[in-house]
């Protein structure tokens, strides 16, 4: 146990910084082979989540070994989900990267035979708020005028985004459209691309009138002035360099869309292990190192652990189910 002392001290220090009152209790569980499954090929958001969190945890001394990252691609995360549920249901050393996309697919029944109650939801590590943007020479200056045009003639405005139809980028537009009083959201034209970058390229090429995506993938283009953000789908204005971006809410459109990132764990993980992971992910989240990672990657705060996170995921699954039924993705 003495080997863990510096780690705990660090964790305690990190907790203290953010004002957590929780005392640092020695956990009676330590992973011997910490592993993080990224349910996609190397290079995507889930891969990033595993690798960055793993690296930060190791740098902070929260885990002694290198976090082994396993890429288990397929089925938009479904292969990994099925693997965890069926074969590694009681693995205490395992965490799996997840995001809004996971919740979206669970909500739409796109993981055949699986639902969100089969795993234990650990914690979030930040959120990437949705943006709706146009090219810099676009006539639309605010979200209202763009959505007014959609109301008048939906065939004129093509929204492009990096997810498939029914995916998170698509749903964000629909959440905004619904909040603005567009009744038949199925008329909103959405073009699916393989990733936000491709969609932005087509926005700049003039094929699309508007872009829907996450702030992080839009960041470079906002700074260069190539795109104009009409609205960030955040509850309030972001801090730092993006403070000048207007929210949808302040324009009278009450739409919030956060692509959260976080982890789930096998359903039969022991309580001791579950506590260990939620605590260590919380400590990672609270560290100044992680703040830097968040800032560099356009992640906004979303600090939920354990039961709170479980509840949050449940609610977002319910919200997505509602809107998916409305547009006819699910019955």
């Amino acid at each position: 146990m003495f080997l863990k002392a510096p780690r705990l001290a660090l964790a305690a220090a990190a907790l203290a910084i953010t004002g957590f009152a929780a005392p640092a209790i020695a956990a009676d569980y330590t992973p011997s082979n910490p592993e993080c499954i990224a349910p996609a090929a190397p290079g995507g958001g889930w891969d990033f989540t595993c690798r960055q969190v793993g690296k930060t945890m190791q740098d902070l001394g929260l885990i002694k070994q290198t976090m082994q990252v396993t890429n288990l691609a397929g089925g938009g995360g479904g292969v990994a989900y099925a693997e965890v549920v069926n074969k590694r249901d009681s693995d205490n050393d395992l965490i799996v990267a997840a995001s809004s996309a996971t919740a979206t697919r669970l909500a739409q029944g796109a993981y055949p035979g699986n639902d969100m109650s089969q795993v234990r939801w650990l914690a979030s590590i930040g959120a990437d708020y949705g943006v709706i943007a146009v090219a810099k020479n676009s006539p639309y200056k605010d979200l209202k005028s763009l959505l007014d045009e959609v109301k008048k003639d939906p065939s004129k405005i093509s929204f492009g985004g990096g997810s498939a139809v029914g995916g998170w980028d698509h749903l964000k537009v629909l959440i905004a459209a619904k909040a603005d009083g567009i009744k038949d959201v199925r008329k909103v034209k959405y073009i699916a691309f393989n990733g936000g970058g491709e969609a932005i390229t087509q926005l700049l090429a003039g094929s699309l009138q508007a872009f829907t995506g996450d702030l992080s993938e839009t960041k470079g283009f906002i700074k260069s002035g190539d795109v104009r953000v009409l609205a960030v789908l955040a509850p309030k204005r972001l801090e730092g360099e993006f403070a000048n971006l207007p929210t949808a809410k302040e324009q009278g459109i009450d739409a919030i869309g956060a692509n959260w990132r976080g982890f789930y764990a096998p359903g039969k993980m022991s309580d001791a292990a579950y506590d260990f992971w939620t605590k260590e992910i919380a400590a990672t989240y609270a560290s100044p190192e992680w703040k830097k990672v968040m800032e560099a990657n356009g992640l906004a705060p979303l600090d939920l652990q354990g039961a709170d996170f479980q509840k949050f995921v449940k609610e977002s699954v319910a919200q997505i189910q509602g809107i998916s039924k409305e547009i006819g993705i699910i019955k």
Partner: protein
């Protein structure tokens, strides 16, 4: 001048003993990974990311290590194409067409060294293209709208006839199989799974690496099993290796092919979503249309090795343009590199060149270093590689099978892919029996999806108006090239057919 000064600064950043050591390791590992079927550049780079992190390398050294692996894998892919008729990675597929026949003719050494030089030329020119043209080239990527992309893919398929087989109908049949396979998976334009039969592993479609390794490598093993009572072993011993360095005459002859291949490959690389496979395919098919007067392509013409190799290496350099300047990865490997940049707190995008000049110029210098190192590594190693041919097939083939299984399992870690690979192996073996070429199948699997999505995007944006497909001058030009490329072989078919009859006996050499 400013640019040269910056490049000089880049070399200052890159030229340290540590960095040179990393480049050497990267080049060596990359070449090996490229040569092994199943382990392509994207896996190679992904495997080494943790190493770069664990060593605590900074931004520039990490990039040097990883781009060396990237370029190395592009070099390495050709080795197994030429020696075993098994593409080491997907862009090296076109190199099989003339590389393997050359090896069969006892010119394996020449094929390897000429393709090594072609790889160097392609990568070298592409790196210069990256330096000189990156900001302007971004505009090319912005010219291409969904309708133009569709025309580009259509061009690839329409010029397919005769590229990989003497029989256009068989090529078309093979391409249809490939296109049909590409339909498997969740349809992004509707979110509905197609042909997945409730099997979650099929939701993302069929991984083309699984298809390639099954169709080429495993079917090779099956063919060997079938003939093992024959003279397969004896043949292995008789195999001639050829010269280790290419005759000067051959280099001179193939130089124009390398240049044309480099330009086409580079442009294909710059377009996000087109990538190295399309680059090497266009380089090969253009070269065949332009210079194949005697009908020697497909039978071991050095130009048929030089053009696609220059093309795929140039495309690797070209793919860095949209990755760096737009943050849009043009290929699997650049997607991985993009992720690395992001985790090093560097955001590629329009401002990268202005904000992180150290990283960009360090990276470019690294590309030059890796490229020279690879040439220096690859030419002397030709002798070593060709020894593979001296290994009796009864030993070599089990190794091929083993590497295939390990490689594919390594990608996704799921036994399901292994089953799919075995099925592809059987299909490949059957297709070989019928003399159906395998390259169009892979091309269909690779390009079918982007072709379909772009068609649907174009028509969806225009609200169902199909005339959008021929509205821009760019798509009109592409369609004209496609139609000419399609009709030429039919109009001049008589001449071609006569030629084919002359060489009819050798046809098996390619598909066998």
């Amino acid at each position: 001048m400013d640019m040269l000064a910056q490049l000089g600064h880049g070399f200052e950043v890159a030229l340290t003993w540590q960095n040179l050591g990393l480049a050497l390791i990267g080049c060596f590992l990359g070449t090996i990974m490229g040569a092994l079927p199943g382990l392509g550049p994207s896996n190679g780079v992904a495997i080494l990311i943790p190493l770069a992190f664990t060593l605590g390398l900074g931004a520039t050294p990490s990039l040097i290590l990883l781009t060396s692996v990237y370029y190395g894998a592009m070099y390495g892919g050709r080795i197994s194409s030429i020696l075993l008729n098994i593409p080491g990675d997907e862009p090296a597929m076109m190199t099989c067409l003339d590389g393997y026949p050359m090896a069969r003719k006892g010119m394996a050494g020449e094929a390897l060294s000429i393709s090594g030089i072609a790889s160097f030329v392609g990568a070298f020119l592409a790196t210069w293209g990256l330096i000189l043209l990156a900001p302007q080239l971004v505009k090319i990527a912005l010219l291409f709208k969904p309708a133009d992309y569709f025309a580009l893919y259509a061009l690839a398929f329409m010029t397919l006839g005769g590229v990989s087989s003497a029989n256009q109908a068989k090529s078309a049949f093979a391409a249809c199989i490939g296109l049909a396979l590409a339909m498997v998976g969740v349809d992004t334009a509707t979110g509905v799974p197609r042909f997945t039969f409730g099997e979650v592993h099929l939701y993302d479609g069929i991984d083309f690496l699984v298809a390639i390794v099954g169709l080429f490598a495993l079917s090779e093993v099956f063919v060997f099993l079938e003939h093992r009572h024959g003279s397969a072993d004896a043949e292995g011993h008789k195999m001639e290796i050829g010269r280790i360095t290419p005759p000067v005459k051959m280099v001179k002859e193939t130089a124009p092919s390398m240049l044309r291949g480099s330009v086409l490959g580079f442009l294909a690389g710059v377009l996000p979503g087109a990538g190295a496979s399309l680059g090497s395919f266009l380089a090969y098919s253009t070269e065949k249309k332009l210079v194949d007067r005697e009908g020697t392509f497909g039978k071991g013409d050095p130009r048929g090795v030089a053009a696609p190799e220059a093309g795929n290496n140039a495309a690797a350099g070209g793919a860095l343009v949209p990755m760096l300047a737009l943050g849009v990865p043009g290929s699997g490997t650049t997607a991985v590199l993009l992720a690395v940049l992001l985790s090093l707190n560097i955001t590629p995008g329009p401002l990268l060149f202005a904000q992180n000049p150290d990283v960009v110029w360090g990276l470019i210098a690294a590309l030059f270093i890796a490229n020279f190192m690879l040439l220096a590594l690859n030419i002397p190693m030709v002798g070593l590689f060709t020894r593979i041919l001296l290994v009796p097939p009864r030993i070599l083939m089990p190794i091929v099978a083993m590497v295939s299984f390990v490689g594919i399992y390594g990608i996704s870690g799921s036994p399901f892919d292994l089953t799919v690979m075995i099925l592809f192996g059987i299909v490949g073996w059957v297709l070989r029996k019928f003399d159906v070429p395998l390259v169009p199948v892979i091309l269909g699997v690779l390009l079918g999806n982007p072709m379909e999505s772009n068609l649907r995007r174009a028509v969806q944006i225009s609200n169902g108006d199909w005339s959008v497909l021929v509205q821009s001058w760019l798509s009109i030009i592409l369609w004209i090239i496609a139609i000419v490329g399609f009709l030429m072989p039919i109009i001049f078919g008589r001449v071609l057919r006569a030629r084919m009859r002359e060489r009819g006996d050798d046809e098996g050499a390619l598909t066998d």
